[in-house]
Symmetry: C2
Subunit: 333 residues, 2 copies
């Protein structure tokens, strides 16, 4: 059942930036239970959208040193007094049952930093649910007063597109590679990335990293220029997460891109578009909830689903019949 | 406005296997116009689900010789007197504006085969719409009495998952490659593929194709066995689309897999699951249509969307308000 006290205390704790309250609030939005869902919505509505952080999306396949990069970037930012939240998104964890190595052990130093908050990816989740929960977790981190929210994803299916759709800037972390492997980079991802970062530009890989970076820079130049980008973006840069080299330059590139977009109102316009799409997703989810909440509608739905499964009815015809009671002016039967 | 005569004549033509009628019917289901939508639904309902074809999903990135393979397989099947329909699915055509080379020129001989029907991918389409239209196009091809419906996709985003979800068997066509590039194969796709076909096993590439096939066979063995698969599946095979070598073996592998599944009722069970998911998609689409059809609901929706875009309201709260009039027992205002 709905617990108003929990909502009140969580709202207070989150607003005060209490990390334990934030963690509990995120657990609440991650829950599939109907009463938790109600509390989560009440909490989010209570906290509002006043505080906002810079939302940084990050993708990189396993092995590119993503954790090392996040730890290095995170510490670089907290070193400037910025509060940094890291949210991990991994739809594949639904299948694999969560990351083998906990995110906190992956980012040992950052996780001990009082200015940082690290939230591992919830296991057992579908992509749709992941999008909703992650957006809400981002909103909670913003309400908690974090300056930067880093949304990390492994490049599975549409997860990159999903994360890009809730980020102000999207970083793609890559490892030094042979030219052939350029084609290995998923089609479309290049269109999403604002900045491609070639990691491991250190030791024996340094030269190869530089070559790889040049390859990607060339590939990026082939893309038609995006109206929301200044000259030279999307761009490719090298860095060494282990040595920290290139990190300030990478962050400066993020800052200048964001600044350029803010000056032209593109930053806010993009956020408005993202909010509209989020609204659309919520609508679809809520409509499905509405159909399954009411016993009569639910029974009708199950009967029609049976007809469809048995091939007695086309899905579209069944869908129209299922929704007939909702038609404005219908007698609700 | 709704034209019953068109529906009647198209239904007759499609049922008689008239390819021009089929082409027009597919154009109808591809249309976004509301009245076309109604006619398409009426047509599909009229045709029913009596006739069914073997639905074969196929994916392969550009350059693996997909068109050559489809032409070879298609001619191999029509050579046995089977009627073959080829539907192309390319969500990226939304961005790129359709395939550079028309599908019919890609498959010159097959397109002239009276037993074959080739339908190019519609341009300017989102994935969601593509799923709906493709499922309906498949249903139309089945109603037209085709024995095999080949659903082809380039491996963009979720298109493979989407096509696999409307196929009885899913083939993945690959080119000979170095072991490193194994990792280039999109994560998850291996879980979708029933049969991995390494093409270009001819001339100078033959040896490499055999090695690549062995690599994939090894990778497939690492996957946990799927309950719907007999021993040895998913499997990897080599073939040469140009020389036609390996084609009968590949088709035999498809047949034995399908036969095994039919014997155990897995074939029908999978189709029932697919139909249920299709029903769910139709429901979501219809609900959105319902919300935007009614002027009052639409106005309410637009006002709330504005609030969300301006950050005055959380998407979830706005979604609930937008749907309040649909709540059973509400007074519809």
């Amino acid at each position: 059942m709905f617990d108003a006290d929990i909502v009140t205390s969580l709202a207070k704790g989150v607003a005060e930036g209490d990390r334990r309250a934030l963690a509990r609030a995120i657990t609440l939005v991650e829950s599939g239970r109907a009463d938790h869902r109600d509390q989560a919505q009440a909490l989010l509505a209570r906290l509002g959208t006043g505080r906002q952080a810079l939302r940084v999306g990050l993708s990189g396949t396993p092995g590119v040193g993503k954790s090392t990069f996040i730890e290095a970037l995170g510490l670089f930012l907290t070193g400037q007094g910025l509060r940094v939240a890291v949210l991990a998104v991994d739809p594949s964890s639904a299948r694999s049952g969560g990351s083998i190595l906990g995110d906190k052990t992956r980012m040992e130093h950052l996780s001990r930093d009082p200015l940082a908050f690290i939230r591992p990816s919830p296991a057992q989740s579908q992509l749709g649910g992941v999008a909703r929960r992650t957006r809400e977790a981002v909103a909670l981190c913003e309400a908690a007063g974090f300056d930067v929210v880093l949304i990390e994803t492994v490049g599975v299916g549409q997860s990159e597109t999903m994360v890009a759709d809730m980020s102000d800037v999207f970083l793609l972390l890559l490892a030094p590679a042979g030219g052939d492997e350029l084609q290995g980079v998923k089609r479309g991802i290049m269109e999403i990335a604002d900045i491609v970062l070639v990691n491991k530009a250190d030791g024996s890989l340094k030269a190869q990293a530089t070559r790889t970076c040049a390859d990607y820079a060339g590939a990026l130049r082939l893309l038609r220029k995006r109206p929301q980008d200044p000259e030279g973006y999307p761009r490719a840069m090298t860095l060494s997460a282990i040595e920290g080299a290139g990190l300030p330059e990478a962050w400066a590139a993020v800052q200048s891109l964001i600044g350029w977009r803010r000056d032209r109102g593109l930053f806010e316009a993009t956020r408005a578009d993202q909010a509209r799409r989020w609204f659309g997703d919520e609508l679809r989810a809520e409509m499905m909830a509405l159909l399954t909440r009411d016993p009569e509608l639910r029974a009708r739905l199950e009967r029609l689903e049976g007809d469809v499964a048995a091939g007695r009815m086309t899905p579209a015809a069944a869908a129209r019949q299922a929704l007939a009671p909702l038609e404005p002016g219908s007698d609700q039967t």
